[in-house]
Symmetry: D2
């Protein structure tokens, strides 16, 4: 994959990449990959969409006259675009949410010391660069949020090699510990004063990550569907009917295809909608309310796709019968993989319903 | 509405209409109308999409060198475009499906005698022209399918004035009886040899009718949602909380908005998909398999929108509480109206699941 | 019905009734009635279970040495048992819940003046005695809750004759207004200091009302099911298949019967469980926590039965097709009737989920 | 467990067992076991309910004067009751259903040679006696169905040690192959002429197996629920709220408890119903129609319990969040275990809906 330049898809062309900026197109690519192996697809997605975020941040920094930040980001993007570097963005920590990291960047001479523990750091075994979200203490109390750039090999950085999960086993989502990892000042990027709240940068990057990610869960469902279609046409024993000759099996297949059509419609609509928003010129950048309303649509799609992908695989197992429960059957892997979607923040189903309901009633101020 | 030229929307511009051919655009228009009154919207939709079918048939007839048919259709379209005539397309009969009408056109001197009874003839009280589907006996046995043109006032034509239903009370979907109604030969149009089967013309016209029609059911759901949003923000009594301040109400509203997002995604996708198919030049006309696959997507959308619109209104009633059960409350009307969708052929939910399942397994030959 | 002594079912035998105390048995009786007409069944149920509550209160008052209250209740029960009087228990008011009535009993010479407005006063046109819940101001501020006995003909009592609803049209659930209705002191019964909270008396009487009431909604579903079974076996046209010969119809019928089995299992279990609790001797009366856990089970059953009864009728309509949407078809009435269940307090689905969740986590103190 | 005499629960007391004949009581026992470990519980259930079937068959054989069969069964029951022997009943084969085994008993001198392959032979590693269903060729063509008794150590009997599954990993449900396994004539028991059909013996034994088995799936759901209740009350970090303090979490917990109440109600009702049927004296034995109607109720319960147990564990995972996806978390095991239920014959969800629908329409003759 490194050789195919797929990993440089979202690096600007000027820096050696393909310059893809459309989430719709990324979603289609990640979807195709996931039909083969979803855990690889989600690993790649974390890299690709993180890189896309870095590219957008570079542009914004340049526009804002923040040359140092823009230069650092350019360097990083060149490493991805020309040298096939892989990025890992550890966001999650036990006992807190993504907007309130406890991994801390403590100021020290010439930079910061990073301390903390991240979980679910997808693609970590293959990563050359780690970019954890961190909090930075403010002199007056409270915190800023930022991203630290920690290259592999930095003393104090450990990939814990402890990923053991129900599914998505090839995603390499190990814990990462940072123990007094030194990063120079310029490698603490994207500082914003929105600790604990859903700021515009957070909303934008969440939408960037999740739209293509949903393509991966659609891919899981499609793989289950294709397996069933192929199997159900075959009469397993001479003189026996094929599964597809049974009306009851066809009705369950219809339920699967209805669920697929729901996912496709929602992903199609929401990806175009967000592409329109995020590719606007800076002068016409969406305000926070507009971002919340877009994020709400993304969350509606996420809620449905995460559920439907599980249901579709479940129906596929029902049609195939007992052998689908065996470890060697592809459906038992797809069933374990599909369930991962609902856990991915932001948001879990419970959080998503809370969020959507607030936006529905225009209670956005309660969210800021 | 006659004055606004809305009723001439699908008449070609050359014949006095607006020349709308996009089902997506028609769907949006019907949707807006339905937010105010769904039964009017579905009545208008039957006229508009029937007229659209007539316009396409005129073009196809002209291309095929069938000048007489083309001329008749041009006359009819001009009556709609210039004289504000309203068309009613009675399709349904008790005890049979749309592909196998029993209303019969029996050859007689100079034309045909029409006999039979149609049900659910939406917009019949306002109609100037009735265009029932009929069967025409073939000399060798069996039937052709065709459409008869029967102007209001034709002896033997009776609008039974018996529409009494759970909802959609303004749609005027009375029974129509035809008793030895004479129509001249040229007024029996669109004869095809596909009695009892899902031919290309049938599939195309079903998609034309149902895509905008689904917009009407989305409109019902949207009207319920808007009512709830407005009501739920108000504290009903001094010192009381508004409904929207309750977490449980917001979660139910989230379910409503997720369901709306499902409908919008599916309708958006399927309307563009079918517009692409039906607006192709004759030389690139879709084959029957392609039409079946498109029809399957339409049916998936219909299945979901028909259910979700009921569920959304149901949730709205739950949020509002007991007064939503009163006859004067808008939600009790919307609840009765929304349930109509599932009955509309083709297809009911049971038939739809059968059809989708067959197409899913490429058992299309079983459908022809 | 007055003649059949059915209306005296819950009056103790000593006072001219049948002495039924089992909610399970009442549920079965109300269920059978509802198969024929649900709005009559719920009307009768309000009377029967209110009378049962009065009989239990009489016993408890006697045990507690409250002879005056016991004597009043005996008089009332004799009126029901011997003179076929009908009782109406108006509980609901707009803008508040059942534990916090705003209808007020203001002390006056020799009694109280009742003022307020009740809604959904089921069986009101047939009632001889009205027993609204009221609040009584406490000298130190705050309120007691009590029940006033207001015979028909009392000056200031008006049955508003304004019941106009989606369904349950024969239940006579008019608004009732009380304007300076005088009741003598002894006719204000059951005073308890639990205004605004879920006290033991409230929980017990709610369970008494709702268990048989759920039998009525099961009866609606059963009526729909029986109609479908009868219709689906008949081939509507010579040479046509019966509906039951279609696999897809049988699968939907299976869903109906699964839903019925869910309802029956839950009602069977919960009715025996509550019968065991409420028929215990006073010395072994259940504590408030036990009552909450039982009420939780009742609410689980109510949540499911209210939904399933709508779904079962909905499936029945789907199987029957378009004619089920006509006003004269029994299913369109059952569909309107079934929806009433979810509105009936305590609790609506939203309130029920809140309540169940609190009891599940033993957060009962938050409920008292 | 062998020591506790739990494994002899269903052996008649006269033969060293506890004499349990109530499916309700067995269900409760299996349920308690499954709360700890479901795969052990289902393994034990296969033994216990098979033994119960053997005890009933012994009685019936004795009544019918079939002394040889009765004596063989008595010997086997004594081995279980006194010597703690474990029985394994291999029923399932790839490509056919339970009524039509292809494992064949070919007559040979002094007995039969057994050949065939069984799958999902739960408890096989611990078994002392294998009792596969077999077919026996009839001289006139066609087959009888019977059960062969094959002790461990019989030449040609191999436990394939190939159980590798999504869950239920301790159930030991390996494949079993029989290659020219000799069994003496008296060890071929229970011959009936019902190959390929749902005869009374088949229905009775299916109900015996599945009612307690459903108790195991309820136990899985209960274990998930208990885990959540314990975890959700704890605030994970100082200054943080517990999960149970969130309204949205409580609403999801309410859904879990509603689902549990559905399962309990259905299992309670159906277990008593079947106990009443199967414990009738021979003279009052239920006819085939009665058995079908009972089997239908069992299948309704199975359909619901199999789904709800998955849903309940799924909700539990949602409440707990990301760590529930880790392999070491109990919920990820429960999620894999719960899914097994739907595969267990008779019937899978697809077959169950077909069966229920036929019984609903009294099309039982089509099932015989």
């Amino acid at each position: 994959m490194r050789r195919s330049s797929f990993l440089a898809a979202t690096v600007p062309a000027a820096h050696g990449g393909l310059g893809v900026t459309s989430l719709h197109d990324l979603m289609v690519g990640v979807n195709r990959l996931a039909r083969g192996d979803a855990s690889t697809a989600i690993a790649v997605n974390m890299h690709l969409t993180g890189v896309l975020g870095a590219a957008l941040l570079m542009d914004r920094s340049r526009t804002a006259g923040e040359e140092m930040a823009a230069d650092v980001l350019r360097e990083l993007l060149i490493q991805v675009g020309r040298d096939d570097k892989v990025m890992c963005f550890p966001l999650t920590e036990a006992g807190t949410d993504h907007t309130s990291p406890r991994t801390e960047a403590t100021p020290t001479r010439g930079g910061y010391l990073i301390n903390g523990r991240k979980t679910f750091a997808t693609i970590s075994p293959a990563a050359d660069l780690f970019l954890p979200t961190v909090r930075v203490p403010k002199p007056e109390g409270g915190f800023l949020t930022a991203t630290a750039v920690v290259p592999t090999g930095t003393p104090g950085l450990t990939v814990e090699d402890n990923w053991d999960s129900l599914g998505m086993r090839a995603s390499g989502s190990h814990d990462i510990t940072f123990t007094d990892c030194f990063v120079p000042t310029r490698f603490l990027i994207g500082q914003v004063d929105s600790y604990g709240s859903l700021g515009p940068g957070y909303l934008a990057s969440a939408m960037m990550v999740h739209i293509p990610l949903l393509g991966a869960f659609l891919g899981i469902a499609e793989a289950a569907r294709e397996y069933v279609v192929a199997e159900a046409r075959i009469a397993k024993n001479p003189g026996h009917r094929s599964l597809s000759s049974r009306a009851s099996v066809r009705l369950l297949m219809a339920q699967m295809d209805i669920a697929l059509a729901e996912c496709r419609g929602m992903l199609d609509r929401v990806s175009h909608l967000v592409d329109d928003l995020l590719n606007r010129p800076e002068s016409n950048a969406p305000d926070i309310m507009t971002l919340h309303r877009a994020m709400k649509e993304v969350q509606c799609a996420k809620y449905v796709v995460n559920r439907r992908s599980v249901e579709i695989v479940d129906h596929a197992m029902t049609i195939i019968g007992g052998r689908a429960y065996l470890g060697r059957n592809i459906l038992s892997r797809l069933y374990r993989d599909a369930r991962a979607g609902g856990f991915m923040q932001p948001f879990s189903p419970v959080d998503a319903l809370e969020y959507i309901g607030k936006v529905s009633f225009d209670l956005v101020s309660a969210l800021e």
